[in-house]
Subunit: 299 residues, 2 copies
Amino acid sequence: MNIGVDLGGTNIRVAVMDDNGIIIEELGCPTEAENGPLPAIEKIIAMIQSLQEKHAVRSVGIGAPGPLDAKKGIIIEPPNLSSWKNIELTKMIESAIHLPVYLENDANAAALAEALIGAGKEAESVFYITVSTGIGGGYVYNGKLISGAQGNCGEIGNMIVDPHAIDAPNLNKGALEALASGTAIGRKAESVFGPGHGAKEVFLFAQEGNQEAAEIIDEALSYLAMGIANIVHTLNPEVIVLGGGVMKSKDLMLDPLKEKVVPLLYPSLRPHLKLKLASLDQKAGVVGAGMIPRQFLQN
Amino acid sequence: MNIGVDLGGTNIRVAVMDDNGIIIEELGCPTEAENGPLPAIEKIIAMIQSLQEKHAVRSVGIGAPGPLDAKKGIIIEPPNLSSWKNIELTKMIESAIHLPVYLENDANAAALAEALIGAGKEAESVFYITVSTGIGGGYVYNGKLISGAQGNCGEIGNMIVDPHAIDAPNLNKGALEALASGTAIGRKAESVFGPGHGAKEVFLFAQEGNQEAAEIIDEALSYLAMGIANIVHTLNPEVIVLGGGVMKSKDLMLDPLKEKVVPLLYPSLRPHLKLKLASLDQKAGVVGAGMIPRQFLQN
């Protein structure tokens, strides 16, 4: 059995699971990132140790927000874990629990779970895209996570889809994340509906038939469609799985998105497009984290 | 020993090579595509048979222009093999030579050769980009060609980098190939320097210090840099290898291209960019074709 740790900006989830990714027992607590890394790491260790007492755990996988150095097990400086800077996370936890600990980007961990036991199950190749505050992704081929030379595979939020579009901090001009993320939709909401309005209101208004809200969503989907078409022409994955809070509404998002992607593909690829909603929901992160150790053992 | 066949719009090359991709003997002839597929296929068979008589050949790999169906061994309808339409190429050749025959996209074949014994040798992951009449590519991970669910991995010519840019036939609006290929440079050359001028003149004029020619190249390189940055953020390959006629000039192309790609990458990725010129030149196609059979045997 392995333990998966989903280290988020708000919550930490720790779960012990069998080799099929079935969760046997799960613990959780708030991250309280504002208190710095040490208290949070102590809580992770305590939760792992309490699970170790009851279960025969072989190894631990952690999914955490980037940027991070997966190979060295270091959290570099994630925007949503402020004051975490060059933290040797795997080393610190390993020395306390005496088991091998592995680290991966949280989107990569979720990609692994969705590819192996979620919406991409049984496909040879799966590209996972998460659309929430930011846009990220992960690529799983033949059951293996392709992590990339510096662990940055799937950083599609920075993909340029419109070099004439707006600037956004820490991103390329016209990057996908600046145009199609929840943050991008929220920014548009504020400029159209006034301060205090965000992505949530846009979806609410659109469902009520508001034309301006529908246009905001339509623009974001148009850019997302370009990003997806670019991934298809670059990698031709068998299945593309869409997760993240923004994608939740099938009627409002997935179906219109499909309609926009198809005409952007080479004609021979159009009938083969498989765009699916993620099926593991909130669990993808912690389950995928628990699957990371096996990835290394297979190498 | 294996045989590689490089089936091009102008010439056919057939070579027998050892397991290291070293060519032992090579034959060639013009394709004469205008005569239709049958005479060309007969010439391929005759060349293979003449090599079979002298060498212990185990299998044959063919690199051919897309679109094609690699798994079924069918040439679908390539623009530069007009009148070839749904040709069951591997079946036709297999029945004549009684050896297993494998088919791959020509850019994928070249990618394999450059990754295994060319400029990407010893890298874990290599993305190969060819910039000539069109723009294509291929992705090799851990020594294996990632072909894609429908064999369309590396079709980056259709990647959207500027949705406000010009339309081009059979491509997305603002596709990389429409903005940065030899054809795109040639089209600009005609509009700036008048009919009869093409990409060749642009490079000549630029080398002589002509400002307008330099601007045409600069614009193509800017778009190519966006395409490369998009590939880096999608796949984070260890090495990117650039082949094709347009990339030949290191001073004019590779060095300025590097300068344009670096600022488009996440800061942590900038020091790691490895952009290299292809090293096998014209041979990549036929050598890579000869390496295709081994890819299937390894599966």
